[in-house]
Symmetry: C2
């Protein structure tokens, strides 16, 4: 069932709740791929009813980011959701979510602001305001749908950590379920932004998973010094790769480490053909 | 029933909800007076079950404000709530609400941040971060109790406006009920901070309601120019009065007016004996 309005979603979900159904929410920006489908399958496996939100959220994009050209494929998304037995696709307009007649900013809109410590690092360093926009829309979706469970991919590792922190800090009555990264056979992590890449670019993009796999192998062989682990990456890079960051931090708190351990996560962001790609790997698994 | 833990409150309220009861929340910082009791009576009149939270919220006090000396009168509060038939008094510790082992700041804690436009005016000008702290704790209480209705006094006019804005912006599934100011026979608006005043100070504090009543009378007589209305106040002030602000703004949006109308509200903050007092009046009623 495709719904565009907040009131309609609330009405259907409230009816489900009175009938005792457990409700799952999979928040997406559409352009669904197998990564999203893995979240939906997980949701279907533990919930009676599943809502997929399909909304390209304007307030999580910076002024020089790809909001306008971000892929929008609602018809395909609907078919995929149908095949997975999704109960509601919630595809609101920006106006439905944020009202109209105002420039969206923290001058006119209430924001949820995750802690600086979690934001001023990794992706947050260059994507100013990004995680405020993410937390704000996610809390809105939680309040609209009031799910029992919500599903997020480990691909956006910093995002999941920040959302878990928000849920804890604000006592949000939703359980967050984190699902593993889905990759192509080549190793490339699935992302809606992969659509921007040429065939050549997709090959160059394999560098992210190669660097991370190599760091993990080195860690398993006994190298724990974070600087030494990070240095193993540079031989993989060519002039096709514009690295934004490569960090090894605590997988729950994002705290920097000098020595990696089984709670560490290695994360990287690299631009290929000017497309910003991210990937990460748990060292302890 | 006095409860200190979040889990206990959730358990009782969830049981109520499955039984179809409508739940009301009256958020307070304790030190209950007839103003609070009017909120509780209103809640009792439209809800099946009423929760009063009694928590002096550290994150809404600035470093030079009265957090430590703010009156704490839980035993009296409990008696008053009992007389009104309150079902739960929720009196958590700061540790229960915010965890321990961390300095409370936006470096370590997720905050709800109301729009700058609503915050950088009136009380927010001098109470930096105050409304972030208020919205954060109120949203936490909403998420813990999950009430159908929540009750706030018009006394803290800017607070109610900001909370209504938060509820709208974040799609919070709670209906906000605003209740009128309760005053002593003298005209003094009830406030927990009145306890700080001497008998002499309480007399000097009547200036707030006098100024506001006079502005309303002048408006009813046909004076609409905001500057002219504000100027009528100065003859009431003596060296016992340290005025922080006197403003006439839109009662819903806080927008400045040059000409008052029936949607206007006059608000003032004045220090008497170094006690910061606030009051306000609707011009249109």
């Amino acid at each position: 069932m495709l719904l565009h309005s907040i009131d309609e979603v609330r009405e259907v979900v409230q009816k489900w709740k009175t009938e005792g159904y457990k409700v799952g929410l999979v928040p997406t920006m559409g352009a669904l791929h197998d990564g999203h489908l893995s979240l939906i399958k997980k949701a279907k496996s533990i919930c009676d009813k599943v809502v997929v939100s399909d909304f390209v959220n304007p307030i999580q994009f910076g002024p020089n980011e790809d909001f306008d050209k971000y892929p929008r494929t609602l018809d395909t998304d609907m078919k995929l959701c149908d095949e997975e037995g999704v109960d509601i696709i919630f595809a609101p307009t920006p106006k439905e979510m944020y009202g109209e007649g105002q420039r969206l900013s923290n001058n006119t809109l209430t924001y949820v602001c995750p802690p600086f410590f979690y934001v001023n690092t990794l992706c947050g360093k260059t994507r100013i305001g990004h995680f405020d926009g993410v937390c704000t829309v996610v809390l809105k979706l939680f309040n609209i749908v009031q799910p029992d469970y919500a599903f997020f991919g480990q691909k956006d590792a910093q995002q999941v950590i920040i959302i878990k922190k928000m849920v804890k800090d604000l006592n949000v009555p939703v359980e967050i379920i984190q699902c593993p990264i889905v990759r192509e056979a080549s190793g490339l992590a699935l992302s809606s932004r992969n659509k921007y890449l040429s065939e050549e670019g997709k090959k160059d993009a394999l560098v992210l998973s190669k660097i991370l796999n190599n760091i993990k192998e080195c860690y398993k062989k006994g190298i724990v010094d974070v600087n030494a682990l990070k240095e193993t990456a540079y031989s993989f890079l060519t002039n096709k790769h514009d690295m934004e960051y490569l960090e090894i931090v605590d997988k729950d708190t994002l705290e920097n480490k000098t020595a990696a351990d089984d709670n560490s996560i290695a994360l990287t962001a690299i631009r290929v053909e000017n497309v910003r790609l991210i990937d990460n790997i748990y060292l302890g698994e």
